[in-house]
């Protein structure tokens, strides 16, 4: 009986060790990290842009999961090789530019489905930033056509494509209605900051050596400093900085921040502002601040 039991223990441990060995030494060993924003500088060299595009294709974008490099039987999605030439051919009979076609195919993925394929591709803008989308688009164009896409020159064309697919914010402003408690407003503000507004991508909560912009807790200090310099009220200046970010770009920083109203509703901007305020001072912003924000939005819209 003892011998049977020992053999049993050996079998269980032996099989587990064998499976571990296969897992450790027969399979590739890499970790899958959360996506990071790839910094793309203005006026980036074309070769560098194409290299970033290729890295995204194999890495962050996960494009190669469905798009094989060369055509193969039963492929799930069109092959990458020669795709630029195919797209060039297609636009010849259409009333759009090559750039517009590529951007549209990336952001509105159901727009151009080649025959025999299913509309399975998710919208790329959910995963990639504008700069990254341009890098991928340039790479695709390079596969059989002359590369005309560059950063930041192609931004307007990309934004036009994205604008045509953009949906109205899903967050119901009704959720931020009169009488909302400050705690609730701050919670929503945090969610907006972290997710929908994606502010956290450039202004992280903790110092990050890869990010050159002020972190969350430093934002209020920046705002107060600039407000004092300009002789403005902090609250008013914070709204202005959010809805017209190009007006006050800190020295040495790039003007890349999109206007907040492009992704957030006025009530949501109020929530984000209150959240930023909560990270360094007394929270004075509430839904009562809506008229001040509206004024700033009108000013930004008029520029």
């Amino acid at each position: 009986m003892k011998s049977g039991f020992s053999k049993l223990v050996l079998l269980i441990i032996g099989l587990s060790v064998f499976y571990t060995y296969v897992g450790l030494y027969f399979l590739p060993q890499s970790e899958s990290l959360p996506p990071v924003v790839i910094e793309i500088k203005e006026g980036i060299d074309q070769d560098e842009l194409l290299k970033i595009g290729e890295d995204i294709l194999f890495g962050k974008g996960q494009c190669m999961v469905c798009h094989p490099n060369k055509p193969e039987p039963g492929m799930r999605s069109p092959a990458i090789a020669g795709i630029g030439a195919v797209m060039y051919e297609r636009v010849q009979s259409m009333d759009i530019t090559e750039e517009e076609y590529i951007f549209q195919a990336l952001v509105d993925t159901k727009a151009y489905i080649p025959e025999g394929f299913s509309p399975i591709m998710p919208p790329s803008q959910k995963l990639l930033t504008e700069g990254e989308l341009i890098a991928v688009a340039a790479l695709l164009q390079s596969k059989g056509s002359d590369v005309t896409i560059s950063f930041p020159e192609s931004l307007p064309a990309l934004r036009k494509s994205m604008g045509s697919t953009e949906k109205k914010p899903v967050v119901a402003s009704a959720k931020i209605s009169k009488g909302i408690s400050q705690a609730e407003l701050l919670k929503i503000g945090k969610d907006m900051y972290d997710d929908k507004g994606a502010c956290i991508d450039c202004h992280p909560a903790e110092p990050d050596p890869d990010v050159e912009f002020p972190i969350l807790t430093a934002l209020l200090g920046e705002v107060e400093k600039h407000a004092e310099e300009k002789g403005k009220d902090t609250e008013e200046f914070l709204f202005e900085a959010l809805v017209n970010p190009g007006a006050y770009v800190a020295e040495g920083m790039d003007d890349i921040m999109p206007a907040t109203q492009e992704s957030l509703s006025p009530e949501e901007i109020i929530a984000v502002s209150a959240y930023i305020q909560s990270k360094g001072g007394k929270v004075t912003i509430s839904l009562d601040s809506l008229p001040t924000l509206t004024k700033e939005l009108e000013k930004a819209g008029g520029q």
Binding site: K7, L11, I12, L15, Y19, T20, P28, G74, G116, K175
Partner: protein, 580 residues
């Protein structure tokens, strides 16, 4: 085993559950884990993720055990009752004994998990309670209901055996209904985390609780778990029988445990054949929720773990085939079929080899740039067209190993015996040719047609052939001449080790697939709603995941061995002695 009275048995179960829940609530009330601004707390040395991973997987393994074994036990009891087969009733009772002990361990592990989660992941658990809190209280109620019914079912076995067997089987059915209700509730939690619904996409606030429960994943996951639990429960039963066989010296005991192991293993494998189809359904729902998640799960970071899965599933088939081929020795007349074993071996081996062929051989970006993503020859085998075909061929070969074993000691006596055998052979050859042809045709059709039409036909053909063969055999071997009765107990120990191999491999596979299902969420606690911002917000290497899977598997069997040991010990209590 000396029996407790039914009332005492119920009281014992309820007290145990109340004590364990009481401990959890007391700890949570005393230490207030939710009262913190921090989103995470760190577990010492191994970290929070690995701790919760191991405890949750062990809890799941035992939960699968206590949900799967009752299905098997009640089915045996029912058939035994209707056929007046005492052996089946004994096997059912033995299994009922197994799962009653299993409940206590499942509950203890659940308590550890219940305390660990709010302490280590307070913000995430706070969110989960806000969205699905009422289902947790329902879960507690169903746990009490199940505890009472299980105790009633087990402790009333002898009392109801003679005159109230029907009512007792009905009690068993209620045990399974309560178990399925628990499974549905817990699957709704996992379903919400992976394919959430019913909440505001941005704020994560609850919009509709029912929508948060009935997510894309809920029902297919529940069904997949239910089937997997039967496979797992039956394979644990087979392992138990194998262990008793190996350690027994009494020929009568050996014969009984040999038969028990065979019955449990065949039920396990029968349900195992259904799993890929339901897994396919689960995949379809994940794709319907979010294509990117589907792609990531099926072909992205996890692509190589599917190769690992193929290695494990193929090994399970080999263990079973090996067991069945050896089993021919105990069948008088079984030697007539030895010549087919080689053929079945080749088919299983080829199917397995293709099944585990990776699609993309490049393991890094640099390698992909250097040698290309796909191997010029093997790249063609690593696609769905060939893998589906290979899987079915390997499973079909396994089925024929079983079909041969069933008839090995018989000779048909019906007048159409020769024609019947020829029809059976024709069905077999036609099915193999048909499956291979569809596999080849799958290469030249659009992906959508292959996924939606051809794969379904291939699996349909597989099940059709099995049913046709069983039906033909039923009539062909009616009143057949029996060359000799199976010599139960005449099996070498190595055959029993192969049954234990099935159970160990299946347990390891459950750990691996559980990790993959969970890892599909990537850096989200609740996909797209609650981001994982902990230091563990990344998917570890496949090697690391394999180490954790092995640790949980070994720990699981360590506890299972202790349960078996305890049960065997209580059997040896002399008459009139006290039960432990």
């Amino acid at each position: 085993m000396a029996e407790l009275s039914t009332t005492k048995g119920i009281s014992k179960g309820v007290i145990k559950l109340t004590v364990l829940l009481g401990i959890s609530f007391a700890v949570i009330l005393l230490f207030k884990p939710f009262a913190t601004e921090e989103a995470y707390r760190a577990f010492p040395v191994i970290g929070s993720r690995v701790w919760v991973w191991i405890i949750a997987q062990l809890h799941l393994n035992f939960a699968a055990f206590v949900l799967g074994v009752p299905i098997f036990a009640v089915a045996m009891e029912f058939i035994g009752w209707r056929k007046s087969d005492e052996r089946l009733d004994k096997i059912a009772h033995d299994f009922a004994k197994l799962f009653t002990v299993g409940y206590t361990i499942t509950a203890i592990l659940g308590t550890v998990l219940l305390i660990s989660l709010p302490f280590l992941y307070p913000k995430f658990m706070d969110h989960l309670m806000k969205i699905l809190g009422p289902t947790w209280w329902l879960y507690c109620v169903v746990m009490y209901v199940e505890t009472v019914i299980v105790a009633l079912y087990y402790y009333s076995w002898d009392r109801m055996k003679e005159n109230s067997k029907g009512k007792h089987v009905f009690l068993g059915l209620l045990v399974n209904l309560a178990g399925t209700a628990l499974l549905l509730i817990t699957s709704s939690w996992v379903g919400y985390m992976t394919t959430p619904g019913g909440v505001n996409e941005t704020t994560g606030e609850l919009v509709n609780r029912w929508d948060a429960i009935k997510t894309y994943m809920w029902l297919p996951l529940s069904l997949h778990r239910l089937m997997a639990n039967v496979v797992f429960g039956a394979s644990i039963g087979a392992a138990y029988a194998a262990y008793r066989f190996i350690t027994s010296t009494d020929p009568e005991d050996k014969a009984y445990y040999d038969w028990m192991g065979y019955t449990a293993a065949m039920i396990s494998i029968a349900f195992y054949f259904i799993l890929p189809g339901i897994g396919y359904l689960l995949g379809v729902e994940i794709y319907a929720f979010n294509e990117q998640m589907g792609i990531q799960l099926m072909g992205g970071f996890f692509a190589w773990l599917w190769v690992m899965q193929a290695i494990l599933m193929g090994l399970i088939l080999f263990f079973i085939n090996y067991y069945l081929w050896i089993s021919l020795n105990k069948m008088p007349g079984g030697d007539r079929y030895f010549k087919y074993v080689k053929l079945l071996y080749i088919f299983t081996l080829l199917g397995w080899a293709i099944w585990m062929t990776p699609h993309s051989v490049a393991v890094s970006l640099e390698e992909a740039r250097r040698i290309g993503t796909y191997h010029p020859i093997l790249g063609n085998l690593g696609v769905m067209a060939s893998k589906n075909t290979a899987t079915i061929v390997a499973m079909l070969a396994t089925f024929y190993s079983y079909a041969i074993f069933r008839i090995a000691n018989k000779e048909p006596t019906v007048p159409w015996a020769k024609t019947g055998s020829m029809v059976k052979a024709a069905v077999m050859i036609a099915s193999f040719v048909g499956i291979l042809y569809i596999g080849w045709y799958s290469y030249i059709v659009p992906a959508e047609f292959r996924v939606k039409v051809l794969s379904t036909i291939q699996f349909g053909l597989f099940f059709g052939v099995m049913i046709a063969t069983m039906v033909i055999d039923k009539y062909l071997y009616k009143d057949a001449r029996v060359i000799g009765e199976p010599d139960w107990g005449k099996m070498p120990d190595r055959s029993q080790y192969s049954l234990i191999g099935v159970t160990v491999t299946f347990t390891w596979l459950m750990s691996l697939l559980g990790y993959m299902r969970s890892g599909g969420r990537q850096y989200w606690h609740v996909y797209g709603i609650v981001k994982d911002t902990s230091p563990d917000a990344f998917l570890p290497t496949h090697g690391f995941a394999s180490v954790v899977a092995s640790i949980t598997t070994v720990l699981f069997f360590f506890v299972v061995a202790a349960v078996f040991w305890g049960m065997i010990k209580t059997e040896k209590v002399p008459e009139g002695g006290k039960a432990s």
